[in-house]
Amino acid sequence: MSGKNSGVNQILLSGNEAIALGAFEAGVKVASAYPGTPSTEILENLVKYEGVYCEWAPNEKVALEVALGASLSGVRALATMKHVGLNVAADPLFTSAYTGVRGGLVIVTADDPDMHSSQNEQDNRNYAFAAKVPMLEPSDPAEARDFLKLGYEISEKFDTPVLLRTTTRVAHVKGISAGGGEVAVSSATPGLIKDPAKLVMLPGHARQRRAVLENRMADIREFAGSFEHNRVEWNWKKVGFITSGVSYLYVKEAFPDASVLKLGMVWPLNERLIRDFADRVEDLYIVEELDPFLELHIKAMGIKCKGKELVPSIGELNADRIRSAITGEVPSGGIAPVELPMRPPNMCPGCPHRGTFHSIRKLKLFVSGDIGCYTLAALPPLKAMDMCVCMGASVSMAHGIDKALGRDALEKAVAVIGDSTFFHSGITGLMDIVYNKGVSTVVILDNRITAMTGQQENPASGHTLMGEPAREIDIEALCRAIGVKRVFTVNPHELKRTEALIKRESERPEPSVVIARAACVLIPEHRKKKKDKYSVNTAKCVACRQCLSIGCPAVEWVDVTPEEAAELGYREKQTGHSSINQVMCDGCRQCFQLCKFGAINLTAGASSNKTKKKAPADKRTKAPVKKTARSVAKKRAKGTGKPASTKKTSKTTVRGKSVKKAVRKK
């Protein structure tokens, strides 16, 4: 792990790395998660420690239920997710508060104020209140590690799940921690204990547990009064702040001389502690990111304070924002900005999604989209996504369009969803389409990995987070089993074929699934492949800009002078030509297929030793669009009967990859 050689006993850890270390030190035995920024690196790091079982679950609800099952079997368990993931896991969260735990259970929710990589800015402290579970909120990586360990003690002491909330500026901030801790042992003993009154939430049992829950929260509220991380830092008493999480750091930076009540536990709140602090300062301010969570509950105690009438509730805070909110001063630093072209994120050179969206755009379809790298297709120049709400919604919203517009929707709309997102929560929508006689076409972008969050394994990847070979879930067979009769697979790098297939299926009045399958270019196996390069024959280029229309970062426009244009034999109006960046080109052949003038060719000398040129893709995508029943049956037998081939060495490969990945990130 980090910092082994740093001389003194200090290590530099991100919040997520610190939580992983904390989980190891807490003696966590089972950890389950669905990747989501800014939470993903917790399990990616925890898996490197010995003796902890870690897995990527298909979604957050499953992850929490796995962790709950482990906890009720008497071991310490962890579930981690991003803020919106807790919406998915809310069902088990609320009732796990009733059952309580055996081994400690901590759920990490990583919120994303400012929406650096999220579709909304919800404040998950509200879940602690609503589900009646305690929540800890660390300010920095060192605290994140300590709080996680304390979370397990609190969980076992009070028989409750514990929420630990981070935000992007805790999860993705690196700070100094002390090295080398002891590994704790759970107070629970592994094993199964029948206890239906506690574990079977029939109404009769649940009513009993409801009362237990209320008494438990009263006990924790009392405990919060003496919890060492709910601490007062006395200073000048003219101004006092109540704050928590990363906001505490900004308050210390902006008002070093003020008194502060720092709440390490943001739910439940101990009224005595808060009232005592409030009584001893002249002006009391509540500083918190997003919702007025502390403020509302403190005001409900009848305590006079100022909060959201001054402190912004939208976006991240920082020391400047807090200073100007409280004092009215406008920050003076900085230099006048310069107008610049934006640099938005883009799909990678060679990304297979580009081929699918090019086809969809040509068909002028209304795209019910979903969450992943491919959401970037909404941006110019592709502009091929029209809705995106939450994981899995593409499929069910397309069905809604169908039911609202009937035959008018046919040929006009399509759902587009990634492989991992389909497993997460697209399957249920597809069942709805089949069951309720829908006619939607669902395009599954199967790039073999969960790409956006940094290439995590998923149920179709053929290996697990632990680096073991796994049975690849056969998406075709799955869709057929649900009852979709028309299931076709295509290589999205083959543009014409992809377009024809999507066109044909979107026109048919019955449910269909088009699986656009080609590997993510960031998968190590793909990166290692020798690739062809393509380049532009500038004399042949007529500046039709077709190759530029797909927005590949490797394809660039080059202006030429009138003299150069004349030399190249360009017609009068042609002022430039396309060019392909040879460092970036991934050899996907998409632009090659778009050029009707033969101006894009293989770069001489840059190609690999392959003699036959084929689009780089998963072997299985070479199947023709029209499949015979026999070939399907054959493939199904191949795909589901045994662990994927070439996986004998994958344990070391994957381990190697995860280690490499960590190095790359650092």
Binding site: S6, S117, N318, P337, N346, L376
Partner: protein, 194 residues
């Protein structure tokens, strides 16, 4: 003990996180407290990327305030102009002169800004242009461009170069220690460090 704030800015995939990581470890080894803030996820798909590093005897906030960055290390030419509100008059700007075209420029919709270095100079900044890409090419490993910039940066932080070299030895990919150390030394010599 003096402290400061360093803003690393560039384009996803340029090795900004590793560069800020190496700098952080060197500062930690030299006894500084520090916090470094980065953004992962969607921003890494070829978009603008930053890492903010604050160091001193005790650091609270992980974010650099308006005008507070003493040093801006820009890994791409025009990215040096994107964060003017975070630097102040007199801040040092180490700028890689390599250009990476954003999509709107690559497709001919917009022009790449002209006179980037002149714009920086006109704002009273101390500008240190570094051709990190060519130096990395001379060294024979393009991926060491980020270490050239760390070298250039190192002249302006109160940490002996040995700390950096030690950290590079420990933290870069095995087999690449030597080229990275060389890149660091080449970069450092450009800004007057020895």
């Amino acid at each position: 003990m003096s402290g400061g704030s360093i803003l690393f800015a560039g384009v996803g995939g340029q090795g900004i996180l590793l560069a800020s990581e190496i700098t952080s470890y060197a500062l930690m080894a030299a006894g500084f407290d520090l916090k470094k803030s980065e953004v992962h996820g969607m921003a890494q798909r070829g978009g603008s990327v930053t890492a903010q590093l604050r160091y001193g005897s005790k650091v609270y906030s992980p974010l650099i305030g308006a005008g507070e960055a003493d040093i801006l290390v820009a890994f791409e030419l025009m990215e040096s102009l994107r964060y003017m509100q975070m630097i102040g008059p007199g801040s040092r700007v180490i700028v890689n002169t390599q250009r990476i075209l954003p999509p709107s420029v690559a497709t001919g919709q917009q022009k790449y800004p002209e006179g980037v270095l002149e714009t920086l100079n006109a704002r009273g900044l101390s500008v240190f242009p570094v051709n990190a890409f060519d130096i990395a090419r001379e060294i024979g490993e393009l991926r060491t461009a980020n270490m050239v910039l760390v070298g250039a940066l190192s002249s302006f932080v109160d940490v002996a170069p040995e700390y950096f070299i030690d950290v590079i030895d420990q933290r870069v990919k095995k087999g690449f220690e030597k080229v990275n150390a060389e890149a660091f030394t080449r970069g450092r010599s450009l800004t007057g460090g020895i």
